[in-house]
Symmetry: C7
Subunit: 252 residues, 7 copies
C-alpha cells in the first residue's frame, strides 16, 4: 500500500473521503481481513460448503474454540475471516436476525435477506462517526426455500457479493485462483469439500493439519447445516493427500 504523509491526512478520526474519493479506514479494515487465516465457500448443485483454516496459539488450546464456522440457523452457516471479535459480533447479529424473522414471519429467513441486513449494519459503521468499521469478512451460506443453495460475502465497506465460490482472508488470491481452476467440474458436496481444502492448502505454506480447521455443509435437499467432525476433516485431508505428515492427527 502507498504510505505517504498526504494519505495520513485522510485516514484518522472518523471515516472520511480522501481527495481521490477513497475511504481509508474501510481499506485498512480490509487489511485486517487479510491478516487473518483464510475461509472459503463453494456452491454446488447438491449444497453449499464452508471451510476455514485457523491458527492455534499453543498445542494446549482447545481446537474447537478457534471456531471460524458458525451455524446461524438450521439452513444457514457463516464462515469468518479477519478480526475475530468483530466477526463474532456480526455472527451474533445474524443469529438474532434469523430468529426474529422466523418469529415475525413464521418462516426461515432467506440467505440474501439476512446478508443484506448484516451489510446494512456494516455500512452504517463506515458513515456515521463515533465508531470504526468492522475488520472482518463473512461468508454467509444457506439453502433457501425450494432448495436453492446461495453463497454471499460481506466486506468491510458493507457491500454484499454473491459467489459460486469465493475465498477471503490471508493469501486470498492464491485460494481464489485454485477455486477458479477447479470449479467447473463440481457436482457433489464432496467435490466441494475437496476443492475447499485444496484452496485452503494453497494459502498455507505446507500441508494442512486438521487441528485448526473447520468445515461445514448445507445440504440442498434437507436444507440442514452440518459441521464436520475434526476426524472427518482429517479423513478428507488424508484422502486428498493434503495432510501435513507432522500433524498430530490423534489429537483429542
Amino acid at each position: 500500500m502507498m504510505q505517504n504523509s498526504q494519505q495520513q491526512a485522510y485516514d484518522r478520526g472518523i471515516t472520511i473521503f480522501s481527495p481521490d474519493g477513497r475511504l481509508y479506514q474501510v481499506e485498512y479494515a480490509r487489511e485486517a481481513v487479510k491478516r487473518g487465516t483464510a475461509a472459503v465457500g463453494i456452491r454446488t448443485p447438491e449444497g453449499v460448503v464452508l471451510a476455514a483454516d485457523g491458527r492455534l496459539r499453543s498445542e494446549l488450546q482447545v481446537a474447537e474454540s478457534v471456531e471460524k464456522i458458525h451455524k446461524a440457523d438450521d439452513h444457514l452457516g457463516v464462515a469468518t475471516a479477519g478480526h475475530a471479535a468483530d466477526a463474532r459480533r456480526l455472527v451474533d447479529m445474524a443469529r438474532r436476525r434469523a430468529q426474529v424473522e422466523k418469529l415475525r414471519y413464521g418462516e426461515a429467513v432467506d440467505t440474501e435477506t439476512l446478508t443484506k441486513a448484516i451489510t446494512d449494519n456494516i455500512q452504517e459503521f463506515t458513515q456515521t462517526g463515533g465508531a470504526r468499521p468492522f475488520g472482518c469478512a463473512l461468508l454467509i451460506a444457506g439453502v433457501d426455500d425450494g432448495g436453492e443453495p446461495r453463497l454471499f460475502e460481506t466486506d468491510p465497506s458493507g457491500t454484499p457479493y454473491e459467489w459460486k465460490a469465493v475465498a477471503v482472508g490471508g493469501n486470498q488470491r492464491e485460494a481464489q485462483d485454485r477455486l477458479e481452476e477447479g470449479y467447473d467440474d463440481l457436482q457433489t458436496v464432496d467435490d466441494g469439500l475437496r476443492l475447499a481444502f485444496e484452496a485452503l492448502a494453497a494459502t498455507a505454506d505446507g500441508d494442512l493439519t486438521p487441528e485448526g480447521m473447520s468445515a461445514a455443509t448445507i445440504d440442498a435437499e434437507t436444507a440442514t447445516f452440518e459441521a464436520l467432525e475434526r476426524s472427518e476433516i482429517g479423513a478428507h485431508l488424508d484422502e486428498h493427500g493434503l495432510l501435513d505428515e507432522g500433524s498430530e492427527s490423534d489429537e483429542e
Copy 2:
C-alpha cells in the same frame, strides 16, 4: 485536483467551507462516484431506459449480484454509481419511501417527490456533523401518473437534477458526449437502449461483455419497471456490434 497544504486545512473532520466557499468532503465524494463504473439513463417518448456497467471481481462471482439497477416501485427504477454500500442505503431509503407514500396517500409516489426526499437526506449528511457525505450518485427513473417519463440524478451535495439523458460514474464525460451526439433521433425504448449501450461502451476500454452489465426499462404506457435478462443484453450488444469478441456469452 489541486493538492496543497492550504487545501488540506479544510477537508478534514466535519464538512466545512474552504475560504473560497467550497465543501471539499462533498467534492471528494464526487470523486468516489467517478471511481465506480458508469451508469446511464435516457428518457424517450416511449419510456425511460437505465443501463449500467459493473466489474466482476472473479469469474466465479454471480453476475446478478453486481446489481447496479434496482426496482424501487412498480413504476420506478434506480441506477447507481460510486460507493456501492452507500448506494444500497439510499436505494433502500427510496423503496421504503415509495411504500410509505403509497400506504399514506393511496397512490404511487411521483418521481420528483421521491427524488427530493432522497436529496434532502443526502444534503443533511453534508451539513450536520458526525457523518460523511454519501459517495454515490443515483439515477432515478419513473413514469408518473398520466404516462410522463421522468429521469433524475442525485449528486453527493444533495442537489437533484432532471435530465433527458445523463451518464454518471467513471469516464462520465465520454458517455455524456455520446448521449449528446445521439439523443436527437430517439423515439423508441429500443433506440434508448442502443444509445445507452453505446454510451457505456464509450466508458470502457474495449467492447462490452454482458456479464457485468444490467439494464432496465420503464414503459410509458404500462408504467412498469422491467429488468432485461442478461441474454437480452447480450443480444442487444451483439446486434449493435458492441460485443467484446472474447466475452463468455454462454455464461450461466
Copy 3:
C-alpha cells in the same frame, strides 16, 4: 481574500471568533453564495419581481430542473443563490412554515415574519457546534395583507435585510450597480422584469439565453405568485435586446 496562517487558526472546526471579531466560516459561506449564478429581486408599486440565472451542465439537462425560483405560498416566492442543496433545505423550511402559520392562525404569513423565521434558523447554524453555516442566500418576495409588496434577503450570518431592489450571487456588484442606476423610473411589473434581466445580463459575459433562466412575479393587487414560461422569458429578452444570438430559443 487574505490567506495567511494567522487566519487559518480561526476558520476550522466549529464556528468561532477570530481575534478581530470575525466569523470566518460565515464569511466563507458568503463566498459559496458568490460561486453560484446571480438572482435579483425588484419591488415595484405594482408587485415584486424575481429573476435568476442558472447554469446547464449539458444541453440534455431539463432546464426547468435548474429551478432557482420557488413558490413558497400563493403570495410568496423565493429566489436562491449559492449552494443549491442548502438553498433547497431553506426553501422547504419556508414552505412548511407558511403552511403551519396558515393552519395555526387562519391567515397567510406575512413576508417579514417568514423571513425572520428562516434567519433565526440560519443564525443557529452559525453559533451552535456540530454543523456548518448555510452556503446560500435567499430573496424572499411577497405581497402582504393590504397589497404591500415586500422584498427580503437572508444572508449566511442569519441577518435579514429589506430591499427595494437587490442582487445576490456571482458578480453581485455588477448587477447591483445596474439596479441602482435603473431603479428610479420603475412603475410597472414589466419595468421590473426588464431591469431584472438587464441586471442579470450585467453578471453574464455576453447576452443571455432563456434556457437556464427563470423569473416570477407577485402581483400587488392579486397577491399571487406567477412563474414566467420560458417562452415569455425569451420574448422579454428578445424585446430588450438581451438575447444571445447563438441561443437555441426553440428549446423544448
Copy 4:
C-alpha cells in the same frame, strides 16, 4: 491586540482560560461588537433615550430594515451593536421573556430582571462547550413600576452594567467621551436625544444622515416606548446642525 503564538493556544475550540486568566473567545466577541456601528442610551429624569447608527449596503436598501432599536414590551426598548444576527436572537429572547413574565405574574417585567435573564443566557454560552459567545452588546432601556427610568448594558461575557448614559459599538470611546462631557445638564428627553445624536456624530467621520439611523424614547410618565419617525430624526439632526449636507433627506 497582541497576536503571538502563545495566545493562539488558548483561543480555539471551546472557551477556556489562558494562563493569565483571560477568556479570549469572549474578548474576540467584544471585538465583534466594535466592528458594528454605534448605539447609545441616555437616562434622563423624564425618560430614557435610545439612538443608533446603521450602515446601508446600498441606496436601495430599505432603511427601516437596518433596525438597531427594537421594542421589547410597552415599557421596554433594546438597542443593539455588533453581530446583527446574534443580536436579533437576544432581542427575541427579551421579547419572549417579557411576555412570559407578564402572563405568569400578571405585571410587566422590570428592566433589571429582564436584563439579568438575558445575561444569564449569554454567560452560559461562554462556559459550556459546543457553542461560541454572542458577538453583540445590548442596551436595554425601560421605565419600571413607579416611573423609574433604567438603562442597562449586556456585554459578551454575560455581565450586566447599569448606566446613566452609555455608548457601545464602533468608536465607542469617542461617543462615551461626548456623553461624559454633556450629561450633567440633561433634564428633558429632548436634551437626551440631542446628546445621543451628538455622541453618534462623534463616532462618524462627518455629519450624520437620517437614513441609517434610528431612535426611540421611553417616557417616564407614560412608561411607553415610542420610535421616532425618520423625518423626526432628520428634523433633530437639522436642528442641532448635525445633518450631512449631502444626505438625501427626501428619501422615502
Copy 5:
C-alpha cells in the same frame, strides 16, 4: 507563571492532569480571580463583615450596578471576586439553594451546607468535560442558628475554606497581610468594617473612593444581612482617613 511548551500540552481542551499532577485550567481560573478587584470578609464576635472594591468603567456608570456583594438569604451574604458573569451564576445558585432548603426543611440553610453545595457544583466543572471551570471566588458569610457567625471561601477548584478573615481577588496578598496584622483586636462589627476598608485600601494604589465600593454586615444577634448605604461607606472611609481626596463624594 512558568510558560513553556511542555506546559502548553496540558492546559488545553478539557481539564486534565499535567505530568506533575496539576490542573492547569483550574490554576488559570485562579488567575482570573486575581484579575478582578479585591473582596474581604471578616468574622467578629458581633457578626460578619463583607466589603469589596469595584471598578467603574466611566463616571456615568451607576455605581450600585457594580454590585460585588449580594444578599443570598436573610442571614446570608456573598461577596465575589474574579470573572463577574461567572460569579453571578454562582450567586444565583446560592439564592435558589437557600430558598429550596427553606421550603424543603422549613428552616434556614446553614452557611456551611450552602457553601458545600456551591463547591460541589464548582468541582464538577473541573472534572467533567464540555465546560471550563468557574473563574471566580466567593466569600459566603452567614449567621447560623444560635447566632454563630461563619465565613467561607469557595475557590475555582471547588474546595471550601473557612476563615476568621480573608481576602480574595487582585492584590490579595497585600490585603491578607493587613488582615493578619489587625485581626487580633477585633470585637465589634464596626472594628470589622474598619479593618475591611484598611485591607481594601492596601490593594488600591491610593486612597479609596466610595463610588465603586460596597459593604454589608450580618449581625450575630439578629442574624440579618444589611448592606451599607454608599454614604455610610463614605463616612467610614472619611472617619478612618481612607478617603481619596479627589473623589466625588457627592456622587448620587
Copy 6:
C-alpha cells in the same frame, strides 16, 4: 514493539485501524496485561485449577486483598491479569451475569455462555468511540452441567479462547512453555495445582512466597469453587520445593 512516527498516527483518540489493519489501542491493552503478574488455569479430568501471583506493595499490605482469583458463582471462578481496576469491573459483570441467568432460567449459567457475554462487552469497548479497551485478561473456569470442566480466556480484543491449560500476564511465554511440557501426565486436581505453581515459578525470578499468591479449584464432581487457604498454598510450594527460603511463611 516498533515505535515510529508512522505508528503514532494510528494509536491515539478512538480505536481505529492502522494501514496494515491493526488496532493499536488493543495491542497496547495487551501490553497492559503483560505489565501485571501472571495467572494460570489448568483443566484436568477431576476439575479446573486457577492460580495467580501477586505483588505486595509493602509487608503491611493485607495479602488477601491482592485478590487475583474470584468466585463468580458456585461452579465458576475467574483469575485475572493486567490492569487490576479494569479486571474488577469485568469480574463484577461476570457475577451479575451469573446471577441474572440463574434467576431468569432457573439454572446455572454454563462457562462458555458467561465467557461470551463478557467478550461481547469487551469488543464493544474496542469499536465504539468514547472509551478505551479493557487492559486485562480473564481466565474463566467452570464445571458445567454434567460435570464437564471448562477453561476460557478473554483477551483485550474481546476474543474468547478455550484452553486445556493457559498462562496470561507477565512472562506469559515462560509459564506457557512449562504448561506445554507438563500437561500430558495430568490426572488429578493436585497434579494441576503442582503444574500451576511450577508455571508461576517460571515467571518469577526466584522461588515463590505464598504471601502474594492465590489459588482455587473447581471440582468436577461437586462443581464447587474452593479457594485455597494461604497455608495450603505454602504447603504445596514447600512440598514441591518451590518455596522461597527467605519468605515469611508464618504470615497471618
Copy 7:
C-alpha cells in the same frame, strides 16, 4: 518522571493506553496525590486509627476547615490525600452510599463493600471519555459487624487495597517506612495514634503543630468513630516529643 515527546503523545485528551500499556492520566493523578499532605491509617487489635496533616494558608484560616478526616457513618471514617475538591466528592459518595445501604438492608454497610463501591466509580472515570480521573486517594477505615477492624486504600486507578497500616500523600515513602518499622509492637489504639503521628512527623520537615492536623479512631468494641479534639492532638504530640516548639498551641 520521564518527560519526552514520545510520552506526550499518550497523555492527552481521553485516558488511553501508551504503547507499553500504561495509562498516563492515571499516573499523573497519582502525582496529584503526592502533591498534597500525608494521611495515615493504622489497624490495631483495639480499633483503627486515622491521622492526617494539613496546610493552613494563613493563620486566620479556621483550622477545623482543613478537614482531611471525615465521618462516613457511625462505624466508618475516611482520611483523604491529594486534590481536595475531588476527595470531597468521593467522601460525599461514601456517605450517601452508607445511608442508602442502611436504608435498603437495615444494617450498616461493611467497610469492604463501601470501598469497592467507591473504587468502581473511580475506575469508570479512567475508562469512559469526557472526564479526568480523580486526583486523590482515600483511606477508608471501619469496624465491621463482629468487631473486626478494617482499613482500605482507594487509588486513582480505582483499585482497592487492604492494609494493616498505610500512608498516602506527600512524602508517602518516608511515612510508610516508619509504619513498617513500628507496626509490630502495636496493641492499643493509643499505640496506633503514637505511630501515626510519628509517621506524619517523618513527612514534615521539622516537628508538627496541632493546627493543621486531624485524627480519629474507630474503636473495635463500640464500633464508633470519634474525632480527636485539637487539644488532644496537641497533648499526644507533646507527650511523644513531636511538638514543634514554635507552634501556637493556644490557638482556638
